[in-house]
C-alpha cells in the first residue's frame, strides 16, 4: 500500500442505469468500462483508474470509484451513453462523494 502522501485521491460516483431491460452486475460493469474506454481511450482510462465497487441489479444502481482529477471526464463519458445492451437507455449520475459510506443508502 502506498504511503499516504503518494496515495491518489479518489471519488465515488453513485449511478443508475435507466433502460427498459434487466441488467446484471457483469453486464453493467462491461457497459461502464466500455463507455469509459471508448470516450477516454486507453491512456485516459488508466488515468481515471475506474473500479466498479458495487451494483444492485434490482434498482439498477451502483457505485463506481475513480480518480479525483478525472471525475469530470468520467461524468462526461457516462453522460454520453445513449444505448444500454443495444437498447435505448442512459446512465444517470446521482451523486458524487469522496467517501463510499455517504453513497450507501
Amino acid at each position: 500500500m502506498a504511503v499516504p502522501t503518494l496515495r491518489k485521491k479518489k471519488r465515488y460516483v453513485r449511478l443508475r442505469f435507466e433502460c427498459t431491460c434487466n441488467i446484471s452486475e457483469n453486464e453493467a460493469q462491461a457497459e461502464l468500462y466500455g463507455a469509459l474506454l471508448s470516450f477516454l481511450g486507453e491512456l485516459g482510462f488508466s488515468r481515471a483508474n475506474p473500479k466498479f465497487v458495487e451494483f444492485n441489479s434490482g434498482s439498477k444502481s451502483g457505485i463506481l470509484k475513480c480518480s479525483n482529477t478525472e471525475i469530470q471526464n468520467v461524468k462526461a463519458a457516462l453522460a454520453l451513453v445513449s444505448r444500454v445492451k443495444g437498447e435505448n437507455g442512459c446512465i444517470r449520475i446521482l451523486k458524487v462523494s469522496g467517501s463510499v459510506s455517504k453513497l450507501m443508502d
Binding site: E18, S38, A76, G89, R92, I93
Partner: protein, 182 residues
C-alpha cells in the same frame, strides 16, 4: 446556487416538466407542438418570414448566410448544424446578442471517430464564440427521456468540449434565463 434551464428539448409528453425538475432544471423549453418553443429549419430566404407567436424561436440552418440574416430578425436562438468556424457569423451573432444552441444529442447520436470529429468541430466553434464574445447555450436536444441530461452532466460535457467550469455553468443558467425573460 444558479438556476438551470434546458432550452432545447425536442419532444413533449405528460409529466415532462416534473421529470426535468427532478433532474435539477427550473424550467425547460420544448420545440414541439405542445411546447413553448418553435424551431424553424431555414433553407432559403423565404423561411425567415417570422410571425409573432410568443414562443421562443430557434432558427436552425446549414447555411451561415441565412443565419447571419436571421441575427437581425426576431429570433431568440441560432443553431448552426455544421458547427463550422465561420468567424463572420459568430461576430454578427455576438453583435446582435443571439446565442448559439449546442445540443448534446448530436454527440449522443454518433459513435467512435464520427463523434470525436464532431466534438473537435464543436470545441473549435466554442473557442471562436469565446474569442468574439458570442453567447452559446448547452442544451440536451433530447428526443426522448433517455437523452435528457442533468445540469452536472451538461457541465461535464461542456468541460469535455473545452469550456471552463464557469463558462459551462453560465451557458445553462444565466444565458437561458436571459432568453426566457426577453
Amino acid at each position: 446556487m444558479p438556476e438551470y434551464y434546458d432550452l432545447g428539448v425536442r419532444f413533449w409528453e405528460d409529466g415532462l416538466e416534473k421529470y426535468a425538475n427532478s433532474l435539477g432544471f427550473k424550467s425547460i423549453c420544448s420545440f414541439s407542438k405542445e411546447g413553448n418553443g418553435m424551431e424553424i429549419r431555414a433553407q432559403k430566404l423565404e423561411d425567415l418570414k417570422l410571425g409573432t407567436t410568443g414562443k421562443i424561436i430557434l432558427l436552425s440552418s446549414q447555411n451561415p448566410e441565412l443565419l447571419k440574416k436571421a441575427c437581425r430578425r426576431d429570433v431568440d436562438m441560432l443553431l448552426f448544424e455544421r458547427f463550422l468556424p465561420d468567424v463572420g457569423l459568430v461576430r454578427v451573432a455576438a453583435e446582435n446578442k443571439k446565442p448559439f444552441e449546442i445540443p448534446v444529442s448530436v454527440l449522443l447520436e454518433r459513435k467512435g471517430a464520427e463523434r470525436a470529429l464532431l466534438m473537435s468541430r464543436i470545441s473549435f466553434f466554442l473557442k471562436i464564440c469565446n474569442k468574439y464574445r458570442a453567447d452559446f447555450i448547452l442544451t440536451s436536444g433530447a428526443t426522448n427521456k433517455f437523452f435528457m441530461k442533468s445540469p452536472p452532466e451538461l457541465v461535464a460535457i461542456g468541460e469535455a468540449l473545452g469550456l471552463s467550469h464557469d463558462q459551462a455553468v453560465k451557458s445553462i443558467s444565466i444565458i437561458p434565463e436571459y432568453i426566457l425573460e426577453r
